[in-house]
């Protein structure tokens, strides 16, 4: 659990030195300033990922249990609480992928397997292409257009 007060043993040496030291301070702008709110929001979006993954698992289970189970699952998704959740999850996951896709190219190694990494623009275009494809397929599937 992250909190604004650092542990006094942060970066403490294994053997105490000869001089008394003042305890460490937390990063000055943590948690509300600078780039930290974006990081915390990014982490908080993990809740949407977890809940959405559970819903998806339930959908797959329903799909394997016959038409009645699948129709009941889809009808359940039309409940107002689910609709509110879907809007929040869509906004949260969109925010999540925007940040992830911005950071992703910098995490790629110089070579990916035997090939040199493609230019950042190609990587980002590929990621957005994948995101919109999954979004479109998911929407069509849950909307009943693909079954």
């Amino acid at each position: 659990m992250t909190h604004a007060v650092p542990r006094v043993d942060a970066m403490k040496p294994s053997k105490p030195g000869p001089t008394r030291t003042a305890p460490p301070r937390p990063p000055d702008k943590f948690p509300g300033g600078g780039r930290y709110p974006a990081y915390l929001a990014f982490g908080a979006c993990g809740a949407f990922l977890m809940i959405s993954a559970s819903l998806l698992t339930r959908g797959i289970w329903a799909l394997g249990n016959g038409e009645a189970a699948w129709d009941a699952y889809r009808a359940g998704l039309g409940h107002p609480a689910y609709l509110v959740y879907h809007v929040a999850a869509f906004l949260g996951l969109t925010w999540f992928v925007l940040r992830l896709f911005r950071l992703f190219p910098a995490t790629q190694p110089y070579r990916i397997g035997p090939l040199k990494r493609p230019p950042d623009a190609v990587l980002v275009a590929g990621l957005y292409g994948l995101f919109f494809t999954v979004l479109a397929v998911g929407t069509l599937f849950l909307g009943g257009a693909m079954l």
């Binding site: 659990m1 992250t2 909190h3 650092p6 542990r7 043993d9 942060a10 970066m11 403490k12 040496p13 294994s14 053997k15 030195g17 001089t19 008394r20 030291t21 003042a22 305890p23 460490p24 301070r25 937390p26 990063p27 000055d28 702008k29 943590f30 948690p31 300033g33 600078g34 780039r35 930290y36 990081y39 990014f42 982490g43 950071l103 910098a106 995490t107 790629q108 190694p109 110089y110 070579r111 040199k116």
Partner: protein, 248 residues
Amino acid sequence: MSEVKKTIVVTRFDPDKDEVPKTQSYEIPVQDDWKVLEALNYIKDNVDPTLSHRWSCRMAVCGSCGMNVNGEPKLTCKDPISSYGDTIEVAPLANFPVVRDLVVELEGFMDKFKAVKPWIIAAKERAAEEGTHRQSPDELADFKSFSMCINCMLCYSACPVVSNEPDFLGPAALALGHRYNQDSRDEGADERNEIFRDEGGIFSCSYANECTEVCPKGVNPSGAIQQAKLNNVVDWAKSFVVPRRKSS
């Protein structure tokens, strides 16, 4: 060169007298081509010789002069004073115990540094008659950016995980370990990956990316850690198919 007055608010701490750090303001004339370090040196030389701060090369190579300037970890020899307003707050690096004024305790950092075995590990010593170890430009490029670290510790100061997980090895140490794992001359990846996967290793990183944002040398420690995570997951998955080699 134009000269203006600026107020430098410096954190002071004397371990013999002070219970907690306090601040002290100095109004000094500064030239607009100065770096923040030059303002501190001016104070030390002309106003208050008791001020303690670390510096050496003045050209962003030695990594000694890292401090928090207006709340952001900066290499003060590289940080133009003209980019700030009339008042500049200079504090010791966050997340480190403070020895005196702007000087922080380095031993904790050195302990973490050594933990990742930042040296070439070879299964056997190379005989002199075998000649030099050849490395292609592509093999060098696999790790070169990670070897540019100057150990300035700005990444530790910015990292929110370092504040809260004392065991976390931290950005620079993990990036350096990954640098050796990527080196074609090295055979110690299995040993280092065990350390990486342990408590306080790569999976403690929650990808705040602050280390990469503040790095003055473009090392990208968070990129190194994410690559190391992927390598370790692939290594773990492979272990179900191919028996893992025993570490030497």
